[in-house]
Symmetry: C2
Subunit: 127 residues, 2 copies
């Protein structure tokens, strides 16, 4: 699979993909004899994982560390697990914040809906 195809599949830019490879967010990608990237199924799984993790704010640094450990082989299994647990804790924390922001937005919007329907602004609608 070419870089273009991967980019279209996941709606990202070639620059981002090359950047990911350059800094090590994904391992080095297969190349043709001409030096052009030819993403294998495994490469694509790494890309998919990177995009998923990044979309939840997992830092590039953490993904680099994970790949680094992965490439060192089975001796790093526990270290990798610990890294994932750390990442999960962060993602969960953010998830909770997003949820409470949703609650706040829903409350505010319901107040606005009421105000717009009845013409009455209760104190809570201030702000």
């Amino acid at each position: 699979m070419t870089i273009k195809e991967v980019c279209e599949k996941y709606d990202i830019t070639p620059d981002t993909l090359r950047y990911y490879e350059r800094v090590g967010v994904i391992p080095e990608v297969n190349r043709t004899k001409g030096g052009i990237r030819d993403f294998s199924e495994e490469d694509i799984k790494w890309v998919e994982n990177a995009i998923c993790m990044r979309s939840a704010g997992v830092p590039v640094e953490m993904l680099i560390e994970y790949v680094r450990l992965f490439q060192q082989g089975d001796g790093t299994l526990e270290a990798r697990r610990n890294l994932l647990i750390e990442a999960r804790a962060e993602v969960q924390k953010q998830l909770d914040k997003y949820q409470s922001t949703m609650d706040r937005l829903n409350y505010k919007i319901s107040r606005y809906d009421e105000a717009l329907k009845t013409g009455i602004l209760s104190w809570d609608d201030k702000q």
Copy 2:
């Protein structure tokens, strides 16, 4: 309430608070005759709201626009509601991403747990 107290209450820096006021994420804050900020209850509600929204990635620009509309009075009720609905859609989208990242992390971690317990790496543990 002084800037220091507000910062301690919400665990942010004075620089961030001043920045929020400067760019309009919160309306201008009350001052003492000497020009020192003296946050009123209402000011603090604005701060709380800003921190909550920012923690869920609502852009500073959107918060500025909301305050701008708010200060124009009741004629902007609908515009403000629309802005909130727009923000909510974005937050929900992110929330969904965070949730699917959590699912992926939970799956991976469970695989690692198994591998560490049994000493067997199934294919899925790769990556």
